[in-house]
């Protein structure tokens, strides 16, 4: 068990990265950020601060206008897993086949992939649901499938784009705890985009607060609470204090340009 996460060597760095879209919107401006191996980093900020754009740049789905995204180790394409805001499952495929998809695209047969998938189903608490179709599952269960699919290639880096934003609070807390457990067991690195101060503080060892227009890093905060963090941590005074501190910084970031936080998407 890692009790001091994020102590690993740097995994990748964004160096003065900027991204301007063809319609002239500057989504990111001069963003520098280093992600260490084993980190759980949250990108926290108002709408339009470029959190999702940053994630897409890291994933290689989009390329920066200026600056570079530099990996410190030579890693293959399957070193990144991605979990979207929606579960984004194939509706015509059952749970097993949905998790199999990334391996299947790399040419792995159902039989070769089976042990890894069974193991993951266990870990995300979905064993016995392998034959279920997505529409038969609840929102939380769909998200578990989506996380399992993100992890099935055993990525070094898991990118999560507001994965729990659409879930109810009870389900969200449950998934937060389970995600932390998975992370501590598997020791992958996470970059987690969220709107929620509470979620970012609960999960991460470092919170990157971003400001909008143009999207940029406002301040980085270390969350100095030890892992494992379970349900008791959620009600501790320590957690409340950390949340207040983070919330204040986020407030400052939003007040830099009033109105940035309430543009409705």
């Amino acid at each position: 068990m890692v009790d001091d996460p994020g102590s690993g060597a740097p995994l990748l760095s964004l160096r003065s990265v900027g991204k301007t879209f063809s319609n002239g919107v500057a989504a990111l401006d001069d963003v520098s950020l280093t992600i260490g191996e084993g980190d759980f980093i949250s990108l926290l900020g108002p709408s339009g601060c470029g959190k999702s754009t940053a994630l897409r740049l890291i994933a290689g789905l989009s390329s920066p206008t200026i600056g570079t995204v530099e990996w410190h180790k030579q890693l293959g394409s399957d070193c990144v897993g991605f979990v979207f805001q929606e579960p984004t499952l194939l509706p015509w495929a059952n749970v097993f086949d949905n998790i199999w998809l990334p391996l299947r695209l790399k040419g792995m047969s159902r039989r070769q992939a089976e042990p890894a998938i069974r193991d993951l189903l266990d870990r995300v608490r979905l064993s016995g649901f392998d034959k279920a179709m997505p529409r038969e599952l609840s929102g939380g269960m769909k998200m578990r499938v989506s996380i399992a699919r993100g992890l099935v290639t055993r990525p070094r880096l898991l990118l999560m784009d507001e994965p729990f934003a659409a879930l109810d609070e009870i389900t969200r807390f449950r998934l937060n705890t389970d995600l932390l457990e998975l992370w501590r067991e598997e020791r992958f690195t996470v970059v987690f985009v969220t709107h929620s101060v509470f979620e970012s503080v609960f999960l991460s060892n470092r919170v990157v607060v971003m400001a909008a227009r143009p999207g940029r890093v406002f301040r980085e905060l270390d969350v100095a609470a030890p892992y494992p963090r379970g349900e008791p941590f959620r009600t501790s005074p320590e957690y409340a204090a950390l949340c207040r501190e983070t919330s204040d910084v986020l407030g400052e970031a939003i007040h830099l340009n009033p109105g940035a936080g309430d543009d409705g998407h």
Binding site: S77, F82, F84, T88, W92, A93, L105, K106
Partner: protein, 284 residues
Amino acid sequence: MTAIEARPGIVLDAEERRRLRGARAERIGRWVLPVAIMILAIGLWDRICVWNEIPQYILPRPGVVLQTLWKDAVLLFGSLMVTLRITFLGLALAVAGGVGLAVLFTQSKWVEMSLFPFAIVLQVTPIVAIFPLINIYVDNQTAKLLLCSWIVAFFPILSNTTLGLNSVDRNLIDLFKLNGATRWQQLWHLRLPAAMPYFLGGLKIAGGLSLIGAVVAEFVAGAGGQSSGLASRIIEAGYRLNAPRLFAALFLISVTGIVIFLVLTLVSHLILRRWHESALRQER
């Protein structure tokens, strides 16, 4: 599946009882009403013939039509087979052509931009107006009819499948890219399955259209006395004032159309029932 019967031991309030009664009545009415109206209409038709003493060559009584269907069965069903052959071959070609072109279109925006207008031109020009040209350029009788049926049937498949292939969740496309999927993998594992409900919707329309295309082609070709399908039976019967046979042939064509539609609806339901919203029953 929605339970229509109340479970034993559950006490229902007045509103729920009313809803249950309503659901039960609707389930029965759905079948009984159309059948009852149909029987009523046929009965009325029969009575009108008798009351007004309408001669058989103007409007035959339903019983006579049925008798003719039986008496001329060999002739009529032989013709039906000819028409069906063209219909199904036409439909098969429409599926191949429609899906093939749609796949081509999604591979390149440029191809779609260049070719789609031609597909529309082909679609909006009445087939009866095109047929004389086909008649000049194509010699083979079967090929003529097939071409005609194909032109009418392929467009709904093409346009629906194109729409389906392009309506894929952007995030899923990103997921495929992220996992290094090839174009072919993206088509096979993502775009084609996603287009399936759209394609099946197009297929249902195309099934009826290919029958119409086949019959219209026979009509135009049959005017020259070269065809032996159901349409030529109708023309022939018209010339001879054989109204009962005309009605019998007409009856066969519409029953065929209905059967094609029902079969395609069933196929569509069987394929989609496990995942697509359209195949799910309304649940409250």
